[in-house]
């Protein structure tokens, strides 16, 4: 008897947790289809806010900035992070100590500290050389910087999970250094690289604080646009953007899962 009450309690707690996590999202999605202007009442289903989005140049430019930033920074971070991850693996027997801490530090560093310091840094460089004026390029550098540790960590843990004699087997089976990369390391890393790319992509798309401090007047991304728009009040348009972003992230996550599983299933 008591046991069943306890079980019911647990079940209730489960639904409560799920509710807290997803109800706000569902409300946002629902109201993005609201026919009325007001966020107070739901008067009927309509796509007018989505149509309105397509007509809003500021939003479209923010969207393209966001995507451009996410794709470029993720690709750059993938290459650099992959090299760092492999380097960490190759030299794992040495005592790397502080070097590892320095690579991981950006993960735990508060975004605001990171963002402000990047901004100060870029401004100084800009004053001295005239290069790196705030804009997409500074944002890409800042995003790559915080994405690298994640990529390096994913690549490193994939390598550590491998039997070390696989590297020797590749050498033993006549693979030249270049062939080892092409036929052993990259194919073995593929699932890790795919998930690292999508993780970087989502982190970049989602980032507000660091983007805010490093962006220029022309390079507002979606989160920055939303933030500035919200100061004038939450419009159903914002709900529509939020819904689209959720969809984008969900699709990225599913694609990442699907791509990394495909190889092992075939």
């Amino acid at each position: 008897m008591k046991r069943s009450i306890f079980k019911k309690g647990l079940r209730g707690f489960w639904w409560l947790t799920i509710g807290f996590l997803y109800l706000p999202l569902i409300v946002v999605m629902l109201f993005s289809f609201n026919a009325s202007n007001s966020a107070a009442s739901f008067t009927g289903i309509s796509l007018r806010w989505y149509r309105r989005l397509l007509g809003n140049d500021a939003i479209l430019s923010a969207l393209s900035n966001s995507l451009l930033l996410a794709v470029i920074s993720s690709l750059v971070a993938l290459v650099i992070g992959c090299l760092i991850g492999y380097g960490m693996y190759r030299h794992r027997h040495r005592k790397l100590g502080w070097l590892i801490v320095l690579i991981y530090l950006p993960i735990v560093l508060p975004d605001i500290v990171f963002g402000i310091s990047e901004m100060t840094f870029f401004v100084k460089i800009n004053e001295l050389t005239g290069l790196l004026s705030p804009g997409l390029s500074t944002m890409i550098i800042a995003h790559v910087t915080f994405q690298i540790p994640f990529v390096a960590l994913i690549v490193y843990s994939r390598f550590v999970g491998l039997d070390p004699s696989l590297f020797e087997a590749a050498k033993d089976l006549y693979a030249t250094p270049r062939q080892r990369v092409q036929f052993f390391m990259l194919p073995t890393l593929k699932p890790a690289l795919i998930s690292a790319f999508f993780l970087s992509f989502t982190l970049s798309l989602d980032d507000f604080v660091i983007s805010f401090f490093t962006s220029g007047p022309e390079s507002a991304t979606l989160p920055i646009y939303i933030w500035s728009a919200i100061r004038k009040g939450v419009t159903p348009e914002i709900n529509a953007i939020a819904t689209l972003m959720m969809m984008a992230v969900a699709i990225a996550a599913i694609a990442s899962l699907w791509l990394s599983r495909r190889r092992t299933v075939s």
């Binding site: 491998l162 039997d163 004699s165 696989l166 020797e168 087997a169 590749a170 050498k171 033993d172 089976l173 006549y174 693979a175 030249t176 062939q179 036929f183 052993f184 194919p187 073995t188 593929k190 190889r263 092992t264």
Partner: protein
């Protein structure tokens, strides 16, 4: 495993694999000898792995490096493969100095202890990997993979994924992946140690069959002296980075050169010689008459060379004692016999006669020619 008779017939059909290998490639011999001169290897500052190893392995030989862990046998194998560089010394394989060659430029393949099969590739792709890296065309690769799959009897597995294979199957694939490259020398690093006893002895037979059929030089590393004796043409026993003894399994087992080799080969009946008077020596188990010319500070009495007689009988090389332990093994029985303050092991074949029991007074009889003397 399939019918052994069939396996024999099959091997008779392809009598001369050496010739076919030479015929196809022309430029190289089927089997190569290995020459090691003064190989030294040290890890860090203190650990000496190899202490000046000189060793010649003949072409087409099944050669075993035997020793306890840390004796340097795996280091030696890794130097042969090129995965480790010797600090000093020369390595010649098939008449060519390969001391400085990286592993991918040596015609040597390894069967790794962990098998090291590529998890991202199918069995077929694993088998073809070495050929592909060498630039062998797709058609020839396909043919060679099919041939080796047939040789190792794993034709039905080639389209599987690696994680769908059992331990024994993985072992076979690892062997096939190395063999398909037709290397001058095949190196095997404890390839059977992860398998259970039954599968292990089955694969021992299979490995031996493949080696004899291909006539390839095999260098095998193991810490299991039984396995070494079953498989090898010759064995090198290593300890502390030094070769202790090189010889056929019979030489190593029956006439070990020193106490380490004797103990490692499983011998317990080793007694220090306390007094020597011509051929007569005194040991803790009694006075023994040795053959002329034997030298050394220890005498080895192999348990299976002893005869057991009931009661106390006097005579040369007759040792009186009392049975303290009997292990009945079916085909034979193992006895422990107390002689004075020490004891001796004896093995008696079970021919259906009376087997003496614990507590019986017995006399152990050994002939002089079966006694082996050895040094510290």
């Amino acid at each position: 495993m399939s019918d052994p008779q069939m396996v024999m017939d099959e091997s008779l059909q392809r009598v001369e694999p050496q010739e076919s290998a030479v015929g196809e490639r022309g430029e190289r011999l089927a089997a190569s000898s290995i020459e090691m001169k003064g190989l030294h290897k040290r890890f860090g500052n203190d650990a000496v792995a190899l202490n000046g190893v000189d060793l010649t392995i003949r072409a087409g030989e099944f050669f075993t490096l035997l020793g306890p862990s840390g004796c340097g046998k795996t280091t030696l194998l890794r130097i042969l493969a090129g995965l480790e560089e010797a600090d000093d010394g020369t390595l010649i394989i098939g008449g060519k100095d390969v001391t400085e060659e990286p592993p991918h430029r040596r015609s040597v393949n390894t069967v790794f202890q962990s098998y090291a099969l590529f998890p991202h590739l199918s069995v077929r792709e694993n088998l073809a990997f070495g050929l592909k890296m060498r630039g062998v065309g797709a058609q020839e690769r396909e043919a060679k993979v099919a041939e080796v799959a047939n040789l190792i009897q794993l034709g039905e597995l080639v389209d599987r994924r690696i994680d769908q294979l059992s331990g024994g199957q993985r072992q076979r694939i690892a062997l096939a992946r190395a063999l398909v490259c037709e290397p001058d020398v095949l190196l095997l690093d404890e390839p059977l140690s992860a398998l259970d006893a039954g599968l292990r002895s089955q694969l021992q037979v299979e490995l031996l069959r493949v080696q004899k059929r291909l006539g390839m030089t095999f260098v095998f590393v193991t810490h299991d002296q039984q396995e070494a004796m079953v498989m090898s043409d010759r064995i090198a026993v290593l300890n502390g980075g030094n070769i202790q003894q090189i010889g056929s399994p019979r030489e190593i087992y029956e006439t070990p050169i020193n106490v380490f080799v004797a103990r490692f080969m499983g011998h317990d009946n080793l007694y220090a010689i306390t007094e020597r008077e011509g051929c007569r020596v005194t040991t803790p188990v009694g006075t023994l008459e040795l053959e002329g010319g034997s030298e050394g500070e220890f005498v080895l009495i192999r348990p299976e060379t002893l005869d057991l007689k009931l009661g106390h009988v006097a005579g040369t090389n007759h040792l009186p004692g009392r049975i303290t332990e009997r292990l009945y093994r079916g085909s034979h029985a193992e006895y422990r016999i107390a002689i004075g303050a020490t004891s001796l092991q004896a093995t008696v074949n079970n021919r259906g006669h009376h087997l003496p029991d614990v507590g019986d007074e017995v006399t152990l009889v050994v002939s002089s020619e079966d006694l082996v003397t050895l040094s510290e």
